[in-house]
């Protein structure tokens, strides 16, 4: 078991290095750097000045070396610019290089400077992550119980009316990506001109012009502002997880051991609760975990749509503004989240399944 975890961890680290390197390489291509030079320096720089700016700001050397610096395993660059001011990765321009640490990469906790936020990446990113965390918490609270319940109820008696209704609902939600459900929900519930809001407002049931708010902010979390974003993310996941749970449940319900249980006189409730449930939930567990990369997608879409300043919003801003360090930071977080969930899903699967755990 320990060997297994260690091997998985090793593989995870290797994946993390490869992935972050790819992101680093793609975000540090010459055109990106030229653009950075022009936005940080001046738009009217000559090509030669741009090349010089790139070298002066430590973006000159080999990609591998720069990746090493960013990671914090290669000493940070330092030089003296034409004005005689010492500049370097690990210290502010003009301060004494001797006082600065030799290494300053993400391993040392220095995630670089964000050109968009005009400040260090880490605290900004941390704050946005916290905002997304709250959003995700609510998504999970809504999504997991709902989807498992739907899946189990549908899969319990395959082909029944409950099954057909719930399955149709699940298929419909898997066919509705976040940008569709978000748009439709806003039009239905948060638009002053269409959907429910004008009606309710006319009847005097709501005070304002709209029922739910079409924008959300981490500073003011209310039921009215949070419902739509949470629902939008959760809806797509609900369908997917519910379908997996249903498939797993129907398979288990036709298994021979369920027949055994039924024919030894166990009542239907007990058959479902005692015999079917545990076996049926092993598969969805992995699915829920592997759903994280896709949830990340949903987060980005929803935060953009509802203008919620969280992690996804930051990612879009970083990419749109050529903020290399911020984008790298976002990638590290994203890759890390995905890999950790994969690890948890692997280990959890083994723990849930005595057939694997004990062999």
């Amino acid at each position: 078991m320990l060997i297994f975890v260690v091997r998985r961890l090793g593989l995870m680290l290797l994946s993390a290095f490869v992935l972050t390197f790819v992101v680093f390489y793609l975000t540090n291509l010459p055109p990106n750097l030229e653009k950075l030079a022009r936005s940080e320096g001046s738009v009217r720089m000559t090509d030669e000045a741009v090349a010089q700016w790139i070298i002066d700001n430590g973006h000159g050397g080999s990609v591998l070396g720069r990746y090493g610096q960013w990671l914090g395993v290669v000493p940070g660059w330092s030089n003296v610019d034409e004005k005689g001011v010492p500049r370097g990765r690990c210290f502010a321009a003009g301060t004494d290089p001797a006082l600065a640490p030799r290494y300053c990469g993400i391993l040392q906790g220095d995630w670089g400077y964000s050109t968009y936020f005009r400040g260090p990446v880490l605290p900004n990113l941390g704050e946005k992550l916290g905002a997304t965390g709250i959003l995700m918490l609510w998504v999970m609270i809504v999504m997991i119980p709902t989807s498992l319940l739907i899946g189990i109820l549908a899969g319990m008696r395959e082909g029944s009316r409950t099954d057909r209704v719930l399955s149709t609902f699940s298929i419909a939600t898997t066919a509705t990506p976040e940008y569709v459900s978000g748009v439709v929900l806003v039009a239905l519930l948060a638009s002053p001109v269409t959907g429910l809001s004008p009606l309710l407002s006319e009847w005097g049931l709501i005070d304002g012009k709209i029922l739910f708010q079409g924008a959300a902010s981490p500073d003011r979390i209310t039921f009215w502002s949070f419902t739509l974003p949470v629902l939008t993310i959760a809806l797509y996941g609900i369908g997917y997880i519910a379908r997996m749970t249903r498939a797993s449940m129907t398979e288990v319900m036709t298994a021979q051991y369920i027949r055994t249980a039924r024919l030894k006189g166990v009542g239907f409730r007990q058959v479902v609760l005692r015999h079917a449930l545990r076996n049926a939930l092993i598969a969805p567990f992995t699915v829920i975990m592997l759903q994280f990369p896709w949830l990340l997608n949903g987060v980005v879409i929803v935060e953009t749509l509802f203008n919620y300043k969280g992690f996804g919003w930051t990612l879009v801003v970083a990419a749109g503004n050529n903020d290399i360090n911020l984008l790298l930071g976002c990638s590290v977080v994203a890759v890390f989240v995905v890999l950790v969930t994969q690890l948890i899903s692997d280990i959890g699967y083994v723990f849930l399944n005595p057939r694997i755990r004990l062999s």
Binding site: V18, L19, L29, D47, P177, Y179, V180, V183, I301, Q342
Partner: protein, 420 residues
């Protein structure tokens, strides 16, 4: 001219779609009457779910094909006075030959939402199935040997596949589809050249630069070069394995495939078709390549799993004991028997690809900024979502119904292929 009531709008839309209805009725009539002779496709008409799904998908397919007959206006044309107009508004200053109304209103650039939605179907349906098919070719060509041989080859490929899957899709899109990356050519020979030449190559006005030394490819082109070669490899191996006992036939078939395949390849991947028949816009190529790249690893994993299951069958052993080569066994003994789950997944995956294309459009990374494809239209429409939702809701519902149709179709196929 009066504005239209909702009933009138509905009637007019249905009438405008008349060619689609005719095509659908003909398709269904023919299919239902011959369903016993049509194999799995025919069995689809035994399942209500499958039939509904098939109907929805075919509705959009016919809409895409017949779009020119259905649109009421040029989807790119702007009409003064029609900005954000609600559903069924009469066209201001209509002249002879113009359609009288904006059936589903106008968007923020005063274009007809209905026509854009119809044209959007064509845009989406010309990319999604093709991209999915390419992803399948790649996934199958790599997944079948990985599952069959196992060992290092499998371990390595699986690792790469998992890497791609661990990449958050949106990040990948942002990285692959930004203009910087598209513009940036990686020079293959720059390592052997002095810096001056590299700079000269990169300089936009360098006519003097030696073309050979400056040979370079952008990252999407390189990806395309790798991904697009798989269909050719796949079909060639397929035919070779089948006909190697008859070299004459084999040479003919494989030869034809190679000539046509490489011809198309030169055009699609490098835009260097000598005859100029095959080509792809750089933007389209990017979108296409990224979607294939994201989908292929999942297909790979599915195929690999099925092959690992099927290779333990006796007919595979029978093939081995009569001395068949591994490729024949993989492609003619194993692959045909994996077709059931693969067809089902193909339908699901077209839907998924449609969603991905929409996501790209939603982030403004689509084919072209003013393209009528649904993702981009939603992106445009959401800016005025609060006050004029129709511009975003119409394409959103269109996209949803297509994906729903594909999912239902896949469900029906799965159900029917599991039966007997």
């Amino acid at each position: 001219m009066e504005d239209l009531s909702y009933t009138a709008i509905l009637v007019r839309i249905l009438a405008q779609l008349l060619p689609v209805w005719i095509a659908l009725v003909v398709t269904f009539a023919l299919s239902v009457s011959f369903k016993r002779r049509l194999g799995l496709y025919g069995k689809l008409f035994d399942s209500p779910v499958g039939m509904i799904g098939f109907g929805m998908v075919m509705f959009w397919v016919f809409t895409a094909i017949l779009a020119d007959m259905i649109v009421t206006f040029d989807p790119y044309a702007q009409f003064s006075g029609m900005r954000n107009v609600p559903l069924g508004t009469a066209l201001a200053g209509a002249t002879e030959g113009d359609y009288s109304h904006f059936l589903l209103g106008g968007d923020s650039l005063a274009r007809d939402v209905f026509s854009r939605m119809v044209m959007g179907a064509r845009s989406v349906l010309s990319i999604a199935p093709a991209a999915t098919a390419f992803a399948f070719m790649v996934g199958i060509t790599l997944g079948v040997p990985a599952g069959y041989f196992g060992g290092r080859f499998d371990t390595g490929l699986s690792f790469v596949a998992n890497l791609v899957l661990a990449f958050p899709v949106i990040l990948l899109f942002y990285l692959l589809v930004t203009p910087e990356i598209v513009d940036h050519k990686i020079l293959f020979f720059s390592a052997f050249l002095p810096d001056a030449t590299e700079l000269a190559c990169r300089a936009k006005d360098s006519v003097t630069a030696d073309t050979f030394a400056c040979f370079g490819l952008s990252i999407p082109t390189m990806l395309a070069a790798v991904l697009f070669i798989f269909p050719i490899i796949f079909i060639s191996i397929l035919l070779n394995a089948r006909f190697f006992t008859n070299p004459m036939k084999r040479n003919l078939y494989v030869g034809v495939v190679l000539v046509i395949g490489l011809w198309a390849y030169s055009g699609l991947a490098f835009n260097m078709d000598p005859l100029g028949v095959w080509s792809m816009e750089p933007n389209l190529l990017n979108v296409f390549v990224s979607v294939v790249f994201v989908n292929a690893p999942t297909v790979f994993r599915i195929v690999r799993g099925i092959v690992m299951d099927l290779k333990a069958r006796d007919y595979v052993a029978a093939g081995q004991t009569r001395g068949e080569g591994p490729w024949y066994i993989m492609l003619w003994e194993i692959l045909p028997n994996a077709r059931g789950p693969l067809i089902v997944d193909f339908c699901l995956r077209i839907g998924y690809t449609t969603i991905l294309l929409g996501t790209l459009g939603f982030f403004g990374l689509g084919v072209a900024p003013d393209s009528p494809d649904w993702g981009s239209t939603i992106d445009e429409g959401r800016k005025t979502l609060n006050m004029f939702p129709h511009a975003a809701v119409v394409p959103a519902l269109a996209l949803m119904s297509l994906v729903l149709g594909l999912n239902l179709l896949a469900d029906g196929l799965r159900e029917e292929s599991l039966r007997d």
